[in-house]
């Protein structure tokens, strides 16, 4: 009997491969910290940056105990923030229950021009401070950037640059209540809801909210333009000189996170308004469902908006709506 060694070659190769796959990786080594003041930063807020809302950052700074303690933290924005801008004077850590627990590290921050500063009053060599930049009107449509600076007691200074971030041109109005009894007029130009019982400029009325039921068809919650066919205005008496004829495009499953403030990960931003086509679109929207929405173009073409229906209540004949609006002209 002769042994053909060549026939064992695939077997041996397989064994070699198996051993290679199971070879142990190198041991992990704990990184050696740098002997200096260090910092890092992340942007916590998501989605478009809107005028009046906050852009939020978490700024972390630390230095070895042997090199002193933290003295101050400062953020300088390229455009001065609105009055609500501040840098936290509390450092947060997350406990075992997942709750962020604050630890006070200094006095409340002070705004001086474009800079916001927090001075440390406790002896600490590590902190993470949150910075809330309230977007001012001057930043609309512009880019804004931030320089974060930390100082230590031994005179060391570190900086971290963030941005630039584009501030959207659009506006946002949240949780406007409309009801069939009185608050029926929606003005896109003013981003407001007006009552029927109070004097209102009829040229401001872009949409009329109503709730109707009929035995043979589904009408329920509806938004109708003052100039829509009488059939869809039903028995509603439109004020004299209210003649705006907006265009509406129904949307479904478009739950903007900033309007819905729920788990949805969709954000409507400036380019979305420009991409809408309102040709051959109606001037009414019947049988509105909760969490649906509607793109709107005003009669003069000056504004485009997205109306999100947060709450639709059949029993009380009312809705809660939130609006994002983009100025076209």
């Amino acid at each position: 009997m002769t042994i053909n060694f060549k026939s064992y070659i695939p077997f041996i190769a397989g064994i070699v491969l198996l051993f290679t796959a199971c070879s142990k990786s190198d041991d992990y080594a704990v990184p050696t910290p740098k002997d200096q003041l260090q910092n890092d930063c992340i942007k916590r807020s998501l989605g478009p940056n809107l005028v009046g809302s906050n852009i939020e950052f978490a700024y972390a700074m630390a230095l070895p105990k042997t090199r002193g303690k933290l003295v101050s933290a400062q953020v300088e924005a390229s455009i001065q923030g609105a009055a609500g801008t501040y840098l936290e004077n509390r450092s947060f850590y997350t406990n075992n229950s997942g709750v962020d627990v604050p630890v006070k590290i200094g006095d409340p921050s002070v705004n001086n021009g474009n800079a916001t500063t927090t001075n440390f009053t406790v002896d600490t060599n590590a902190a993470t401070l949150r910075y809330f930049y309230q977007v001012p009107e001057e930043a609309r449509g512009k880019k804004v950037s931030f320089t974060f600076t930390a100082k230590s007691s031994n005179g060391e200074t570190v900086t971290y640059k963030m941005g630039p971030y584009t501030v959207s041109k659009m506006d946002m109005a949240l949780d406007l209540g409309v009801n069939d009894a009185d608050s029926s007029y929606i003005s896109i130009a003013d981003m407001k809801v007006y009552r029927r019982s109070q004097p209102v400029d009829p040229t401001k009325i872009d949409l009329i909210y109503m709730y109707r039921t009929f035995p043979t068809v589904t009408f329920k919650h509806a938004l109708v333009a003052p100039a829509a066919p009488k059939e869809y205005l039903t028995d509603f008496v439109v004020p004299n000189n209210a003649t705006n004829d907006v265009r509406l495009v129904k949307a479904f499953n478009l739950r903007d996170q900033q309007l819905a403030r729920q788990q949805y990960g969709i954000f409507i931003d400036d380019p979305d308004f420009l991409a809408q086509n309102f040709t051959n679109m109606p001037d009414y929207f019947l049988n509105i469902k909760q969490e649906a929405g509607a793109w709107v173009e005003t009669a003069d073409g000056k504004y485009r908006a997205y109306i999100y229906f947060n709450v639709v209540d059949d029993a009380k004949k009312r809705m809660t709506i939130s609006i994002k609006r983009y100025t076209m002209k």
């Binding site: 068809v217 589904t218 949307a251 679109m281 019947l286 049988n287």
Partner: protein, 136 residues
């Protein structure tokens, strides 16, 4: 041994060459779709979607494959200038004209017509889509 390897390689090469030159026996039409032997030619279902891609049908369509009509009632308030029709056809059929997007069905007096073409491309049946809107 070497002889067998050479012969095997030659046989494989010849088979490859012959397969590569084999004539395509399956005809396709001007749209690149396979022309089959099937003679079925009908619409099996019809759907109509609004701008939000939700159905605007108020009830199931009535499809008369003899009279070649599709009767569809839509919800009250449906704006028919911009709706998206969807046809389900018998196997291997195609539609003419093609549905490429939102379509205007608002001229109720002149129903839109769509022709179904069978799998063998020999039979053509033109369907009328008759839309009615729910009334109050």
């Amino acid at each position: 041994m070497k002889k067998y390897i050479i012969i095997s390689a030659l046989v494989m090469a010849i088979i490859s060459i012959m397969s590569g030159c084999k004539k395509n026996d399956f005809p396709v039409d001007e749209d690149g779709l396979l022309i089959t032997t099937r003679t079925d030619c009908y619409v099996s279902n019809f759907e109509l979607l609004g701008p939000d891609f939700q159905t605007v049908r108020s009830k199931a369509p009535v499809i008369d494959t003899t009279a070649c009509t599709i009767s569809q009632e839509v919800l009250y308030g449906t704006d028919l200038r911009s709706v998206w029709p969807q046809f389900s056809l018998a196997q291997d059929c195609k539609l003419d004209p093609k549905v490429t997007g939102k379509t205007d069905f608002s001229d109720l007096a002149n129903p839109r017509q769509y022709t179904v073409i069978s799998g063998n491309r020999q039979i053509r049946k033109t369907y009328k889509v008759i839309i009615t809107v729910q009334s109050r």
